[in-house]
Structures are given as C-alpha cells and as structure tokens.
C-alpha cells in the first residue's frame, strides 16, 4: 500500500467527504432528511478506517508525521464528530445549509488532524487556522440569531488576536533558532530570555484555544451563542485536538524548557480550575454552565499534562475519550430539550425526572462523569490525570486540584438537584427523541459507564505511547 495513502488516510478520507458534500451542494442538493444518513454512514466509515493501517512515518519532507498513537488520537476525534452528527441531527435537519455545515465541520476536523500530525511550525499554524476559521463560521450558523453572530464575532476576533500573538512568538522563535521544523527547533532551543518570552507568546495561543484562564474569556460567550452542535464541537473536539498537540509541543519540542512550562502549567492549572469553578457556580444557562465547567476540566487536563512522561500522554488521551462521551451526552440532552422547547435554563430542568426519566438519567450520568464520580468513566479519567500529576510529587498541587473537585461537584449537583428533586408546576413535557439522537445518547451512556471499567482501552493507549 502506498505510504502516502496509508499515513494520510484520515485526512484524505475527510477531504473526499468534503468534496462529496460540495458536489452534493452544487448538484442541486439533497433533502437534509436523506442526506443525514449518508453523512452518518460516511463518518462511521471514516471512523472504521481509522483502525487500519496505522504505522509510524513521515511525509512531505518531515512536515507531516504520524504514529499509531497519533492515528488513535485522530480517530478519537473522528469518533467525536460522528457522535456529534448523531446527537445534533435534529438541528442539522433543520438547518438550510447542511452540506456547507458538514463541509466546514470536516474542514475543521481536517485541520485538527493535520495539526496533530504537524512536524513544522508552519503547517502547525496553518492547520490551527484551518481548525479555527471554519468553526467561527459555523458558530454563526444560526444566521438570524443575534447571539449566534455575536458569538462568532467574538470568536473570530479573539482568535485572530491570539494567532497574532502566536505568530509573534513563532517569529521570535524563528529569529533565535532559524528553523520552523519542530525537531530542529527543539535542538536549537537554549532557554534564553527572549526564547522564554517567545515561548510565553506561543503558549498563550494554546492556552487560548484550550480556554485556560486568563485566556479563556471568549469561551463562555461563544459557547452560549453558538448552535449546540458547534458548541459541542468546540468544547470537545477542538479542545481534544489542541490538548493532543499541546502535549507533543511541550514534551518533545519545548522539552528543554521543562522547568518553565511545568511551573507555568501548575500556576495556570490552579487558576483555571478555581476560576472555572467559581464562574460555573452561578450560571443559569446550561451551555454557559457547561462552558465554565469545561474550563475547569481543562484545569484538570493541565494537571495531567504537567506530568512529564508517558503517564501524561496516556492519561490525557484517555481523559479526552471520557470527556467526549460525557460532555457530548450532556450537550446532547440539553440540545434535545432546547430543540424541542427552546428552554436552556437550569431552572427549566426542574422536575425533568418526572416527565423524561431516561433523558434525566443520561444527563445525570454525564454530569457525574464530569464531576468524577464512580463508577462512571469520568472517575477514572480524572483520577488518572491526578495520578499523572502526582508523579512530580507536588502533593499540595494535587490537593488543590482534588479540592476543586468538591466545588465542581457542587454545581453539577445543582443540575442534578433541579432534575430530580425540585418540584415544578409545569415541567418540560415528555419529549420524543429521534432514533439517531437516541443512538448517540446510548453510545455516550455506554461509554460513560463502560470506558472506565474496560481497562484495555487505557492499556492500549499506553502500549501505543
């Protein structure tokens, strides 16, 4: 098999689907109802393809680099996108621009895949933009809603600003080392003051994409404004992709600056967890709530990343899997409710258990998983992150992280309480969910319950890294 075809199989497959979508559009289009199953099948095929022909290799003169682990990470993202296409298909059915939406989403995914595989600053930067600009466009997809446009505007401006800062950092790095090739860059780093500053600029862009405090401020607004599908995509897929490449960057490229980025991660992780939690406490809008909670989650991811070593990679990757299941389940349920009733407030969820027990259980499971309560996978995910973090023996740091879990539990329980315990005169009526959504929710719930106990997943990731 041609090396080009195997190593870039995901990217090629995605490109093919993108073009298929464009062709569909240009050739006069298909009814969304008919198109959606096709999309599902294509994405599933793409996901299935991700399991085959995984090996290590370079392409395009060291610009593109892949390993089985990277292939797995890409496939995790593929799977996430497949789930999104299932869970939010009610909205997708409604949107007048389905092929375009899918095109943009897959373009962004393509960008992420390339980003994970990049071995060169230029390709990294380009794929980062490829992963961002289409999402900004997607955020604006509720075209006649002001909030959607506002969110998109905030996103595109903020991310443009952040990529300006990123580029400034890269330019300085280039100036001091003379290369944009990552392995060479790693060799050439010497830790001079200018490089540290350049690194901070560079780091800030990652922090921006990951929503690390204080670079997170765009997150909640964009999440709240965007359609559910986009919010989910942003909060799960993009975050996952950035976390993956972030690890690569820190561990392999900026390895000479280990001491600096370790401290930086510690500081930012704590600030991020605390701030995310404090803001999440008082949110009423479910999307905004999940936005801040996901900021807090990022704090935990940073804890995991801060451990320099295999554990960091493995636990983060594992956590992203868990996080995909959990967060998508939460967004999925919220989207069903919002789609059918337009209600997005936590107060509206009062008494939900009386009318929609299954949805409530899925939501509760998702929230428990996010909070890290056993037996959900979130428990394992979070614990492994902390285990990884503890390998540096900064116990107070781990303690702060662990104590933050309490605050987060508090607000997750707030939603649970609303759903299970609070009384409501007119609760949300019994909702009917379509089959795809149901399938998506079932997959997510099963993932939440089983991913932690199926230890081979974790061991498999470990074996790859």
């Amino acid at each position: 098999m041609n090396e080009f075809l195997t190593l870039m199989k995901t990217e090629l497959a995605l490109t093919a689907i993108i073009f298929f979508m464009l062709i569909v559009k240009i050739s006069g289009g298909m009814a969304n109802r008919k198109l959606l199953p096709v999309i599902h099948i294509l994405l599933l095929l793409n996901f299935a393809l991700g399991f085959f022909f995984n090996k290590e290799g370079n392409l395009f003169g060291d610009m593109f680099y892949t390993t089985p682990l990277i292939a797995l990470q890409k496939n995790i993202l593929n799977f996430g996108v497949y789930l999104i296409s299932l869970l939010f298909c009610d909205w997708m059915k409604r949107t007048p621009h389905l092929p375009e939406f899918v095109t943009l989403m897959l373009a962004a995914l393509l960008g992420m895949d390339l980003m994970i595989s990049s071995a060169n600053m230029l390709i990294f930067y380009l794929s980062l933009e490829l992963a961002t600009i289409p999402v900004a466009a997607m955020a604006s997809f509720d075209l006649d809603k002001k909030r959607s446009s506002e969110g998109a505007m905030k996103m595109i401006l903020s991310s443009a600003f952040s990529s300006g800062v990123l580029l400034f950092g890269i330019s300085l790095l280039y100036g001091t080392t003379g290369t944009v090739n990552l392995p060479e860059l790693s060799q050439a780093l010497n830790g001079s003051a200018l490089q540290i500053m350049a690194f901070v600029f560079f780091f800030a862009a990652f922090a921006f994409k990951l929503s690390v405090v204080p670079f997170h401020l765009w997150t909640a607004d964009v999440y709240e404004g965007s359609p559910f599908a986009v919010t989910a995509f942003l909060s799960v897929i993009s975050k996952g992709a950035v976390a993956f490449i972030f690890i690569t960057m820190l561990y392999y490229v900026f390895q000479p600056m280990l001491n600096i980025w370790y401290m930086m991660l510690v500081i930012l992780a704590i600030i991020t967890m605390v701030t995310g939690n404090l803001f999440a406490l008082r949110q009423q809008n479910i999307k905004r709530f999940l936005a801040f909670s996901s900021i807090a989650q990022v704090g935990f991811i940073l804890v995991g990343i801060s451990s320099y070593g295999t554990m960091g990679v493995v636990s983060t990757t594992f956590f992203i899997i868990v996080y995909i299941f959990s967060n998508l389940a939460a967004f999925g349920v919220a989207s069903v409710i919002s789609e059918k009733t337009g209600k997005e407030k936590i107060d509206d969820y009062k008494g939900l258990y009386q009318t929609n027990p299954y949805l409530t259980w899925v939501m509760a499971l998702a929230l428990f998983s996010l909070a890290g309560i056993p037996p959900t996978a979130g428990f394992f995910g979070k614990l492994f992150l902390l285990t990884a973090g503890a390998s540096q023996a900064d116990y107070w740091f781990i303690l702060v992280a662990a104590l933050n879990m309490i605050v987060s539990l508090y607000y997750y329980l707030k939603v649970v309480r609303a759903m299970f315990m609070d009384k409501n005169e007119n609760p949300i009526e019994r909702l009917h969910t379509s089959n795809s959504v149901r399938l998506g929710l079932i997959i997510c719930s099963a993932g939440i319950v089983l991913a932690g106990l199926m230890s081979w997943i974790f061991d498999y990731i470990k074996s790859l890294s």
Binding site: L157, S158, F161, V165, L217, L278
Partner: protein, 649 residues
C-alpha cells in the same frame, strides 16, 4: 466441690423467667406469669439453700478455713493473654450468704406480688423484670471477675430503673427512675475507672488473682502504693477509692444517696427487694469482696469508707425523723442502716479478732435484709389498704390489719435493736467493732441507733395507733373491700417476721469472717446497755409523741425551726444536684456545645460555601461580554507570565 450446674442454675432460672415472660408473657402467659415466675424462683431459692448447706456444712471448709471456690469459669472476652473478662462462679461465705438472702427475699417478693400486683395490666412484664433483677443480682453476687461484677452491676442498675419506672405513665416515677439510673451511673463511672486502674496495677481482672497480687507485699503495685501518682495519692489508692465510689452510688451513701428516696416511686414490693434488701447492699458486698485489698494495701480508703458510712448513717437518720411519706422514712432508714454496714467494714481490720467489723457488717446485712424487707412489705400492705403513702392518711390501723401490725412491730423492734430481735445482735457487733476501731464513729453510731428507734416507732405509732382509723376525711373507707390482703401477701410477712425475730441467733461469725476462719462472737452485756437504753428511750419518746394524735410534734418541729426545715427538705441536697445538672450541665456545657456546633462548626462550613458564592458573584465582572477587555486580559496574562518567568522565577 459444689456442683457448678446447680449453682449456675440459681441465677439462670430467674433469667429464664425473664426471657419467657418477656417474650411471650403479654400474649400467651398473661394469667400464669406470676405463678411461673414464682415457681422458677422457688426452685432457685431451694437450690441456693442447698448450696448454702453444701458449702457451710459439707464442702466449704478445709482445715477449718472456708475456701473460696471457683467451680466454673468461662472466658467471655479476652483482651490479652492475662486480661480477660471471665464469667465465673465464686463460692465463698459471703457469696453464699448473699445467695440465700437474695433468693429468699426475692421469693418473698414474688409471692407477695401475686397479691399486691394482681390485676395490674403489665403483670407479666413486672414478673419478667423481677426475674431480670434477680438474675442480675445473683450474677453480681457470684462474680469471680471484677469486670463481671461491673456487668451485673449495670444490669442490676437497669432492672432497678425498669422497676422504678414500672408505672411509666406517672411522670414522677419516670423522673425517679431516670434519677436513680443517672446517679448510680455517675458512681459507676468511678467504679469503671477504678477497675481500669486496679486491673492495670494487678495485671488481671480476676478477683482472686487481683486480691492476691494487690495484697502481696512483693508486687510492684503494692510497692508503689506509697508513692503518690496523682493529687498526692497513689494509683492504687485512687483505684480503690473509685471502686468504692461505685459501691457508694449503688448503696446510696452520702452524697450519692439522692436517688434512693425517689426510687420509692416503684411498686412497694420492688422497694422491698431492691431498695432495701438486695441491690442497695451491693456496695457493701463489693467492699467486702475486695476487703483484703482495702484493709491491707490501702487503709486510707478504708478510713474514707468508715466516715462515709458513719455520716450517711446519722444524716439519713435525721432526715428520716422528719419525713411523712412512710416509704421515704423507710428509704432513709435503709440508707442509715447501710451506713452502719459500711462503717463497720471501715473500722474493721483483716483477719482474726480485728475482723469483727467485717463479720458484723455481713451479719447486719443479713438481718437487715429480713426486717427491712418485712418493713417494706408491711408498708406495702398498708399502702395497699389506704391507697396513700402519707402518714397523715393513716392511723389506727392495728385493728384493721392485725397480721401486718404484729409483723411490722417485730420488724421495728428488730431495727431498733431491742433484744432479742435480730437487729440487736448484728448492731451490737457493729457497735463493738466501732468501739474498738474508731471512737468518734462509735458515738455517731450510738446516737444514730437512738434516732433509729425513735423514727421507726414514730412511723409505727403513726400508722397503727395515733387516732382511730376513718377519723380523717382523706380516708377512703368505701374502698376497703379487699381487707388486709390475701394469703399471698400475708405469707411472706410471716416468714420474714420469723427471720426478723430469729435470724439474730445464728452464730454468724462461725460462717462469715474476713479471712475465712471462724470468728467467735462474744456477747458483752455491759456493752449493750447503752445502745439498748438509747433505743428504749427513742421508743418511749416516740410513744409519747405519736401514740395519740396531738400537737406536740408540730410544736417541736417549730422550735427546731430551720434545722427541722432543712432536714425535712433533705438538707437541700436534691436542690444542689438540680443546680448542677440543670444549670451547669445543661446551661453551661450542653447549651454552649449545641450553640457552638450550630453556629461555629456548621458556620465554618456554611461560610466556606457562602464565601465561594460571594467571590463568584464578585468576579463575574471579568466576564464582561466586551471582546476588547478579553483581549486586554489576554495581553496582560502574557505580559505577567513573561515577566514572571523571565525575571522572577
């Protein structure tokens, strides 16, 4: 060696009664419960008598010394190799004597209650409780291990609680039962700590070994006894004193006596059994059980015991004079008599002639059980008849209740120490022991004996003479259809009266002495003149004052003024206790603790939560919705991090 099974059956039969009646009494055995209980106890008593016979006359004596036998021992709970709570049976003179007393009195009460408690709704429960009490008391008596005695000690306490509170819908009974339990519990706290100290010093919980260790001059504990460990006293002294505290609580010694008068809220037969004859002497028994330790190793504690006993004796006697509730008079008299036993032990030495006090104390315990149980049962009959406890409602009953009258008179004579009734002999011995041991106590005892005679006959005259019955508006002549009480009630009176009259003739020293060797009792005629004379004087005084209804007592009371008043109010000890519990325990400790918990501890938790929410509210401005401010924050973050890592870290 006596048969272990037989001895074990003595306590177990009443226990079987408890289980049987407790579980099935209400539903299935309602009408037979009294008979079942009585039959079981009869068997038990027979076995006890057999055991006594066996021990004293057949198997107990080896080389002229009564041996302590342990026919059975089961390890119940082993803390470590040496330290274990064993359930065993101890057979020695005092335990056998107590077996007899307890089963006898209990049997009497069982029989008596068949009549007294007839028609009571919770009749089976009553007998179940009686069974439980008898079991516990017998277990206590037979204990071979200091922890075992503590176990039964507590069980006795709880059965006393249950029986005092038997009329549970009477608030006063409930209060009394609570009081009894809590006060004795407080004393038991001391007992428990005492046990811990002693067991730690001796390295064992077994009485036999403990006494052996603690009295042997070689043991470290004894060697260190001179050295003070805490507040100027040695550990051993503290241990022994605290053990005595437990005994004092059960035996209603001053100042832990306050529960006893109130305990009279229970059914009268119960008072006879528990609060006169058996449970209240447990403290005396405990001291006697550990007597070698007290006597040989920690004489200072023995001194305390003597004084506590003496003070209790006279203190209670003074109060008894002023009380009008007949059961309370008897209660205080009990306390006074137990004070006698206590100081008799206190003044006693160990072994030989010096051990006279010990023998005397046990002797008095024995005789007192007879006549005091008799007094209570007699009082019960009276109360049964007039439906009142108050002397004011009585008088002139000698015609209406002849048997009661006679037996009651015998009992009064016995307690007043008039020869040849039982009380005379035992009291005489005590006084003799006190005379040799401690003169001050002797004088106190002498005065007390006079007072005893006075108040007992005050009681006697008030009930049976004073005025013709029915002359008072309080009398409920119409209710007296049941007469003096049936055969069931009269039989015990008669039997006990026989005991009150004749039990003094038993050569007690032959059987019970501090070291097991027989002690010959000498009768000093000259010596008995003073107490008997005082006793007679007391009786005469009472006769003068109370034979006929008159106003002299009131005048006398008025002339004593505050002394009378404070005695009538039991020297305000109850009020002091009330102050301590209500004001100190509840208001000064309990309330602040609850407040602290609600406001400070809880407050801290809530504060943490509220602060979090507060901060969260305060910092919401950062999320201003203005994208430019976001960018400023972004740049500020970059600058701060850069400066931090370039210049600071």
């Amino acid at each position: 060696m006596p048969n272990a099974t037989i001895i074990a059956l003595i306590p177990l039969l009443p226990f079987a009664g408890f289980v049987l009646l407790g579980l099935f009494g209400r539903k299935y055995l309602k009408n037979y419960s009294g008979l079942i209980g009585t039959a079981l106890l009869l068997t038990s008593a027979a076995l006890a008598f057999y055991t006594a016979y066996d021990y004293f006359f057949v198997a107990g004596k080896v080389n002229g010394v009564y041996q302590q036998l342990n026919p059975m021992k089961i390890t119940w709970l082993a803390f470590s190799q040496n330290l274990s709570i064993d359930l065993g049976l101890t057979i020695d003179p005092i335990s056998v004597m107590m077996l007899v007393v307890v089963t006898l009195v209990s049997l009497m009460v069982h029989i008596y209650s068949l009549g007294y408690m007839k028609g009571e709704e919770r009749f089976p429960t009553y007998y179940a409780y009686l069974g439980l009490f008898t079991f516990s008391m017998l277990g206590l008596v037979l204990s071979s291990n200091i922890f075992q005695i503590y176990i039964f000690w507590e069980l006795v306490g709880v059965s006393s609680f249950l029986l005092i509170g038997f009329y549970y819908n009477k608030p006063s009974a409930v209060a009394a039962s609570k009081k009894a339990f809590i006060v004795t519990r407080f004393a038991d706290l001391g007992f428990l700590i005492g046990i811990l100290i002693l067991s730690n010093q001796a390295g064992t919980l077994d009485f036999h070994q403990m006494i052996a260790t603690l009295t042997s001059p070689e043991s470290n504990a004894v060697k260190n006894a001179a050295a003070s460990s805490f507040l100027g006293a040695s550990a051993l002294t503290w241990g022994a004193a605290l053990v005595f505290m437990g005994g004092a609580g059960k035996s209603a010694m001053f100042p832990l006596h306050i529960w006893l008068p109130d305990a009279m809220e229970g059914p009268t037969p119960v008072s006879a059994l528990i609060h006169a004859a058996t449970m209240v002497v447990a403290g005396v028994y405990l001291v006697a059980r550990m007597f070698p330790v007290f006597s040989i190793t920690v004489p200072a504690v023995l001194e305390i015991i003597a004084w506590v006993g003496a003070i209790s004796a006279i203190f209670a006697a003074i109060i008894a004079i002023t009380q009008t509730d007949i059961k309370r008079v008897l209660a205080y008299s009990t306390m006074s008599q137990i004070g006698y036993m206590m100081f008799a032990l206190g003044v006693s030495g160990y072994g030989g002639e010096a051990g006279l006090g010990y023998t005397a104390s046990m002797f008095h315990l024995f005789t007192h059980a007879m006549f005091k149980a008799l007094l209570f049962l007699g009082a019960g009959a009276v109360i049964h008849y007039v439906h009142s406890n108050d002397m004011q409602d009585m008088g002139g009953l000698r015609k209406k209740m002849p048997i009661t009258h006679i037996t009651f008179l015998f009992a009064c004579l016995a307690i007043a120490g008039v020869p040849p009734f039982a009380g005379f002999f035992s009291k005489e011995e005590i006084l003799l022991a006190a005379y040799h041991g401690n003169t001050a106590i002797y004088w106190i005892a002498l005065i007390t004996s006079g007072l005893t005679a006075f108040y007992m006959f005050r009681l006697y005259f008030s009930i049976f003479w004073s005025r013709p019955y029915g002359s008072n508006s309080h009398d409920h002549s119409a209710d007296h259809h049941h007469g003096e009480g049936g055969f069931a009630m009269m039989l015990p009176l008669v039997i006990l009266a026989a005991g009150a009259v004749f039990s003094g003739l038993i050569p007690f020293g032959e059987f019970v002495s501090s070291d097991g060797k027989p002690l010959e009792s000498h009768f000093h005629l000259a010596f008995s003149v003073a107490p008997v004379a005082l006793g007679i004087a007391g009786i005469v005084l009472a006769w003068v004052l109370y034979k006929k209804q008159n106003t002299i007592p009131d005048k006398l009371a008025a002339s004593f003024g505050s002394l009378y008043k404070s005695a009538y109010n039991k020297f305000y000890i109850d009020e002091i206790y009330l102050f301590v519990t209500k004001k100190v325990l509840f208001n000064l400790i309990g309330r602040p603790a609850a407040w602290f918990d609600k406001n400070i501890v809880d407050g801290m938790v809530n504060l943490t939560g509220n602060t979090t929410v507060f901060i969260s509210e305060k910092i919401k401005k950062f999320q201003s919705g203005k994208v430019q401010l976001y960018a400023i924050a972004f740049l500020a973050g970059v600058i701060v991090l850069a400066v931090l890592f370039i210049y600071v870290l």
